[in-house]
Amino acid sequence: MREWIWRGFRFNLPDDWELLQFSREQGIGRCAFADRYQYRFEWSWRSVGRAPDIERLMTDYRSKLVTEGTMTEPKLVALPGWHGLAGKQGAAWISRFGRFFDDARCLAELVFLWPGSRDREIERSVAASFAPVPVQDGVQPWKAFGMAVEAPAAVPLSSCKVEPAHAALTFSATKRGDSCVFRRLGFATVWLKEPVADWLRRQAPRTVRDIACTQETRAGHAVSLLRGTLPRRGPFFPPRSYAAAAWQCPGDERLYCVTQTQQKGKPAAAPALSCCAGCEVRL
């Protein structure tokens, strides 16, 4: 099982289930995971003020399915803390479970798609692993696309770009101009023809001044760090600091990069990026 953290919730899924669809929104959204042949799991969320009667919701939904005839043999099921409904739709089994998380004020729904028969053990272990991850010391953890990230909680996820061998999570607050970008780049043996430090320097905006580059070794990873200052964007804008780190993980040979831009004198929580268990780089 592999751990995922998204939108303040952690859960474990089978190793070969990959995140193919996602929402960035906090209020309402959905993530869908697939094995190599089809979608297998969907997690949807909705921020709600008070706890709904989920058992009642499932009962009503079951009645609706029976009336419509869209699901055969729908029956109410339950897991510790979760109320659910399972039945056969076409050739596949579908089981769905709902739960309200009081602390996070969030209604979560888990939907499993089973092309063969239901695997209750997977349902149980996924549901048991599902838990909110609160903000600690001003940072919100995320774990997806091979990156374990700690982003400043005050800066929301504004963009998520996922392409083959290129994943990028961008957190930005437009008013303050603060941003954090976490990237994981593959095919490094194909396109990276220069030292990582040189590549990192080329990634920095042209306007960065007072650049200071350093090198460190962390858990066997040669990490290049860069710090500098960005000029004011106008007379009413404060100067900003720019910090970046990049390294190539010897484990998966991918290039990892984290950059942070923030107002000088108003430091936000320091972002951190981990490529593997041994290596965490915090700016």
Binding site: L20, A32, Y39, L113, P115, G146
Partner: protein, 131 residues
């Protein structure tokens, strides 16, 4: 990819297994050779447009071939398309070589395949009865 619609409503029976079971084959009429840089150059016979008839063809001579120079990754994918390997096998091998997840490899390989099919370099044999 951003979330579009609930997969449980639409994709309970949907699967891309049929696509993975397909076997890409090279265009038998295409000629391929490596250039000086070691990259594959594939020449695909081009069809003369219907409007190019004499006496127009006395002045405008359409090229007999279209030339495609494949990059390293595209060349590797092209080499694997022997009509025996399935798309799934090619994706697995590509993912193993470049240390990608299966779906990263799938998106990359199917992108190359789509491009090569569109240009007439490859064709795809799809099994008749698969889920």
């Amino acid at each position: 990819m951003k979330a579009k619609r609930p997969v449980a409503r639409t994709a309970a029976d949907a699967s891309w297994r049929k696509m993975l079971d397909a076997r890409p084959v090279r265009n038998a009429a295409a000629r391929a050779e490596r250039n000086d840089e070691g990259r594959w150059e594939v020449r695909v016979p081009s069809k003369r447009p219907a409007y190019l008839v004499p006496p127009l063809t006395w002045m405008v001579r359409p090229p007999k071939h279209r030339l495609f120079v494949l990059d390293d990754l595209g060349g590797w994918v092209w080499e694997q398309c022997d009509g025996e390997r399935t798309v799934e096998a090619i994706v697995e091998a590509f993912s193993a070589v470049h240390r990608l997840t299966f779906h990263e490899g799938r998106v990359a390989v199917t992108g190359y395949l789509r491009d090569l099919i569109r240009r007439g370099v490859l064709a795809v044999a799809v099994p008749a009865n698969t889920g």
